[in-house]
């Protein structure tokens, strides 16, 4: 197998692109896909201050590495979720990555700062762990971005993640979620813009990016993820992809270009209903947001969102 660019020996075959690459040209391919996504969806510029949510896994470390490589100003944020050894080890990967590259990493510990962890918080709030976890993470992303004056919050969601979420939203016709499913969520009431620069790259490509560029990442899965519906949707899509390479990409990207406009009204309605949480100041359709209710049920302390002084 030969590299599509230099005809040297290839290290990876990408069926959906019908292309093989050597290590060097594969890394360049990934960088160019990220640049393309940033441009295509007008995500951010080199002047913006970016905060990358890092979990210690392949996607978030890879997106951080690529953004730095492309010359963006990007700091990291790691959240200790209190999920036993999994959290301790993944936190170490994030810290080692930042230290080795002399990058700035913010660390927030859920137990220390809010008084609960994901396993107990989800039980207390009677929510599945991933729901309690996602809610906590989103709140802390906003909080750290506001406190430190970041313009944009970057997450490592890749094409497989987005296609699986889309599949789930379509199976249940969640029109309000479909309206919000986009690689860019605009800033609103001072909350940072949220962007997903990896939407043109799939999971295997991100893992390969890490192997080829020498990034050590957390290989173990979060113990809370076993058997969740997200994984089942991924399996189902991968079955289709095996026989028809490129299906996932078409499913997600054609949704964005052709399907999403049909759901725009549902999104407008949901946005119009949003007010401000009486406890933390975050966006919510209720008096108190779901995150603050979770913190209260888990016996923890909510933290108010505060804004950094405006930059000159």
């Amino acid at each position: 197998m030969k590299c599509r660019v230099c005809r040297g020996p290839a290290v990876i075959d990408l069926k959906r692109h019908n292309a093989n690459f050597c290590g060097e040209h594969f890394l360049r391919f990934c960088n160019s896909q990220v640049e393309k996504a940033i441009g295509e969806y007008d995500m951010f510029t080199k002047e913006d201050k970016l905060l990358v949510a890092v979990s210690g896994g392949k996607d978030s470390l890879a997106v951080w590495a690529i953004l730095i490589e492309l010359g963006y100003q990007a700091d990291g944020l790691y959240i200790g979720l209190g999920i036993g050894d999994y959290s301790d080890i993944s936190g170490q990967y994030a810290k080692d990555f930042a230290e080795a590259r002399d990058l700035n990493l913010h660390v927030v510990d859920l137990v220390e700062e809010y008084g609960y962890d994901v396993p107990n918080g989800s039980k207390a709030a009677k929510r599945v762990p991933c729901s309690a976890c996602g809610m906590s993470k989103r709140h802390i992303f906003d909080r750290v971005a506001l406190e430190h004056g970041y313009d944009v919050l970057v997450t490592g969601h890749n094409l497989d993640d987005e296609a699986a979420v889309l599949f789930g939203n379509v199976l249940h016709w969640q029109t309000d979620y479909l309206a919000r499913q986009h690689p860019v969520l605009p800033e609103r009431d001072g909350m940072p813009r949220k962007v997903k620069p990896l939407v043109r790259l799939d999971e295997r490509e991100m893992a390969a990016y890490c192997v080829v560029s020498g990034i050590d990442y957390m290989l173990d899965e979060c113990p809370m993820s076993a058997g969740n519906s997200h994984l089942r949707y991924k399996d189902a899509l991968n079955l289709v992809e095996q026989n028809s390479p490129g299906t996932k990409q078409a499913f997600f990207h054609k949704f964005l270009s052709q399907g999403a406009p049909f759901f725009a009204d549902a999104g407008e309605e949901a946005r119009a209903e949003l007010g401000t949480c009486a406890t933390c100041g975050g966006p919510t359709p209720n008096d108190v947001c779901a995150f603050c209710r979770l913190v209260e049920r888990a016996g923890g302390q909510p933290v108010k969102l505060t804004r950094a002084p405006a930059r000159s």
Binding site: M1, K58, S131, M206, V211, N228, N238, P245
Partner: protein, 66 residues
Amino acid sequence: MIVELRNPTRTVEFDEAMSVAKLLNRLKVDRGSVLVICDGTLVPYDSKLAADAVVEIRNVISGGAA
């Protein structure tokens, strides 16, 4: 060859040399869901693995929903 797999962590041994494609077939692993790593480098599906190679099959599907 010695093949290391994860989730659950296990080791499988084969006596003969074979291609990556054949190895994945034998193990019934979809090549779109894994990377094959030999001596710290990625190996594509058509490359030949020596009878004494030590190979890692790394799953790439993660489960986080948020």
